[in-house]
Subunit: 141 residues, 2 copies
Amino acid sequence: MGLPKTPALTVDCVIHDPDGRVLLIRRKNEPFKGAFALPGGFVDIGETVEAGCRREVREETGLEVAELTLVGVYSDPGRDPRGHTVSAAFLARLPAAMPPRAGDDAEAAEWVADWRGEALAFDHAQILEDAERLASLAAED
Amino acid sequence: MGLPKTPALTVDCVIHDPDGRVLLIRRKNEPFKGAFALPGGFVDIGETVEAGCRREVREETGLEVAELTLVGVYSDPGRDPRGHTVSAAFLARLPAAMPPRAGDDAEAAEWVADWRGEALAFDHAQILEDAERLASLAAED
């Protein structure tokens, strides 16, 4: 086949409830073990980024998200201490704040009202800021 | 290190001139050898997607693009016959229609007025449609 070696592809998902809280997980593994993070993970070969995003949310939080809006692509070579990963970040909204059930790489999963008061893994604080800007623009329409 | 194997990451760039023409290359190599395509290619480990996009445009057309706007992430597993590639597509605009100079993987590079009349490689017709929608939304602001 011989596709060139490129950065590893990941997805992250920002999920708001109607009160503006965000769904975060506590990371079970290094890097950033124990820190809050967005649900997400590596994209499998053969799945779209949207399918990978829904799968990771399901595996880590037990919740199903449907419509996804692209927030951005995050590709700083230093964003992940394991090596160069590039994340496609999506925004989803749930009609109600359903209780999550932590699974897979998530030690815990919970609705967080003030993420700015928490230490977040990777560049997830930046993704959350960008997602909030996008959500407020959409609300103006 | 052990990052999981994921789809290969590429970039593509839609470049409009002030008359609405788009900069396309003729592919020198398979797949889609001889077909028109957007300038683009594989992202190197250690570079951001934006840097990879500017580098590919420079290598294939000799032109320099500055500001980039994300159009979307294209990840259908069947979009590339070589294997699963995922492309971050960007929109750029040049202040004037400078003459391109084909290089690298490009057999030719030219400004095309009506891309809908051409057979395009990969899912580049879809990317061009999405980019035109984005550009017209931006023009309304």
